[in-house]
């Protein structure tokens, strides 16, 4: 059974189509790359599948739950939003404990989950430090830890390596591989960085101006073009991007 299934998913803002008839499926344990230039519809896709936005048309299921049951979907997904803010006055541990409690954990469970996740993402020694003192890379790792606080079946990561140095990017990519490999969760990775997709993704979706240009296993999409970069440019070129 597919862990994500979207059929004809569309989102319109007035006359503008932010997403137009997206249809795809993702299997459990798969890391799927969501690619596209600015304004392609990547963040809209993630916000639709994570129930933050309502689709204008189309249907979807996530983790076996239909799109018309948003609270049940939210129970089973983890999300690192694009440019998500962090409460500066909270410590990393407080931030994760609060998130765990919102997912229904008791105080004691929330505390142990927060400690475990902070260790998992390498922030165990900074658990009591205020988030305002964290570097960007540390905040991204904290965000990923938060996305895992409910042991999700599907994880959405929107630009998780944005603004990170190469070492920080490498750490995040290793964490993503671990999420899919060890936890068996499906990971949807939205990014501009094609090399990241080549390193960790088994399949890709390429969007442009809200339309799906290519979907499938990485090897199939690359076949013929020679490289993912060449395939990406040929599928999205001449569209007048931002």
């Amino acid at each position: 059974m597919a862990s994500i299934e979207a059929t004809g998913l569309s989102k319109r803002y007035g006359a503008r189509n932010a997403l137009d008839g997206l249809t795809f499926a993702a299997e459990p344990g798969e890391v799927i790359g969501l690619l596209g230039p600015n304004g392609a519809g990547k963040t809209t896709t993630i916000r639709l599948l994570t129930t933050i936005l309502e689709p204008s048309s189309g249907t979807f299921t996530v983790a076996g739950e239909p799109g018309d049951r948003p609270h049940r979907i939210r129970q089973r997904i983890g999300v690192l939003p694009e440019s998500g803010g962090y409460p500066a006055r909270q410590t990393g541990a407080e931030y994760l404990r609060y998130a765990a409690r919102l997912f229904g954990r008791s105080r004691r469970d929330a505390r142990s989950a927060a400690d475990r996740l902070l260790d998992d993402v390498g922030l165990g020694d900074r658990a009591g430090t205020r988030i305002s003192a964290y570097s960007r890379g540390m905040k991204q790792r904290l965000g990923i830890a938060r996305a895992l606080v409910n042991d999700p079946s599907v994880v959405f990561l929107d630009e998780p390596t944005l603004g990170l140095d190469p070492a920080g990017q490498r750490e995040i990519l290793a964490t993503i591989g671990e999420i899919a490999g060890r936890r068996g969760a499906t990971v949807v990775l939205s990014t501009h960085t094609l090399t990241e997709v080549e390193q960790v993704c088994g399949s890709v979706l390429i969007l442009d101006h809200g339309r799906l240009r290519a979907a499938g296993p990485l090897a199939d999409v690359v076949a013929g073009a020679g490289s993912l970069s060449a395939a990406f440019i040929s599928l999205t070129e001449g569209a007048g991007h931002e």
Binding site: Y13, R47, T50, I52, L53, E54, P70, H71, R72, R74, Q75, I77, V79, P81, S83, G84, G85, Y86, P87, R89, Q90, Y98, A99, R101, L102, F103, G104, R146
Partner: protein
């Protein structure tokens, strides 16, 4: 069934308000204002310019007015502020229902009113000694003030949900309070026909009038009970709107589905 963890939201919001946030600063400012006002009232009383019950009534009115003002300031920031800080999406991505988010935020904002009430109590005790008015005034402030704070704090939360800008929601809240407070400063207003209507419709005007009737005119609590209709209706309607329309109001971007 979506999760109803309003208490978790309320606890965290209250913690942010009182431990890491603006709560203590605002209440400290409020206590300075009350201290200055109590000093002036006590001085005037000593010079026989102000009757003791009037001094107590004045303190209750200032306590209620400023307490409600600070509650609106906090509630007007509750949603639009999170949108501006970028922390709202994380909250919306949890299984906590939108209604629970609204209720939790309103409860947390209401703690500002309760704090103002607690700060007011010693001043009431000082000014009301000997006339057995302090206890009555405190109870009256708790009951009537809570109704007004809940209703207008809820309106502040509605402004916050309807706008993406924190400045806009705060400006709307303060403008509303200005419109509601201004008529209360016209001494002859309740004595005229139209003035009576305006006083009764205005939740703040009617609440202050009801309180002064009991504290200064020594009326029974049930004598002018109809003046409480406006605060009760506003509190019930606003709370009802927030609970019923919560799922449509609490969105990542105001007005965007």
């Amino acid at each position: 069934m979506s999760s109803n963890r309003w208490d978790v939201v309320a606890e965290q919001e209250s913690r942010e308000l009182w431990i890491g946030g603006r709560g203590p600063v605002l209440v400290f400012g409020f206590s300075l204002l009350l201290s200055a006002m109590t000093y002036l009232a006590a001085t005037n009383r000593a010079m026989n310019f102000l009757e003791q019950r009037e001094a107590v009534n004045l303190t209750v009115q200032v306590g209620l007015a400023v307490g409600v003002l600070l509650t609106v300031v906090v509630s007007a920031d509750a949603i639009s502020g999170e949108r501006e800080r970028g922390t709202f999406e994380s909250l919306l991505l949890t299984p906590v229902s939108r209604r629970a988010i609204v209720v939790g935020k309103l409860v947390a904002a209401s703690t500002m009113w309760l704090a103002c009430l607690i700060v007011t109590l010693p001043y009431l005790w000082v000014l009301g000694r000997g006339v057995a008015g302090a206890g009555q005034a405190a109870l009256l402030t708790l009951v009537v003030g809570t109704l007004v704070a809940l209703g207008l704090g809820g309106v502040g939360l509605l402004f916050s949900a309807w706008t993406n800008s924190n400045k806009t929601s705060l400006a709307c809240g303060l403008l509303l309070l200005l419109v509601l407070f201004a008529p209360t400063q016209l001494p002859a207003l309740p004595k005229t026909g139209i003035g009576e209507v305006i006083t009764r419709v205005n939740p703040i005007g009617s609440a202050l009038h009801y309180i002064s009737q009991i504290l200064v005119s020594r009326r029974n609590w049930t004598h002018d009970l109809s003046y409480l209709a406006s605060p009760v209706v506003v509190a019930l309607v606003v709370t009802g709107v927030l609970i019923v329309a919560g799922p449509r109001l609490v969105r990542l971007t105001a007005g965007l589905r």
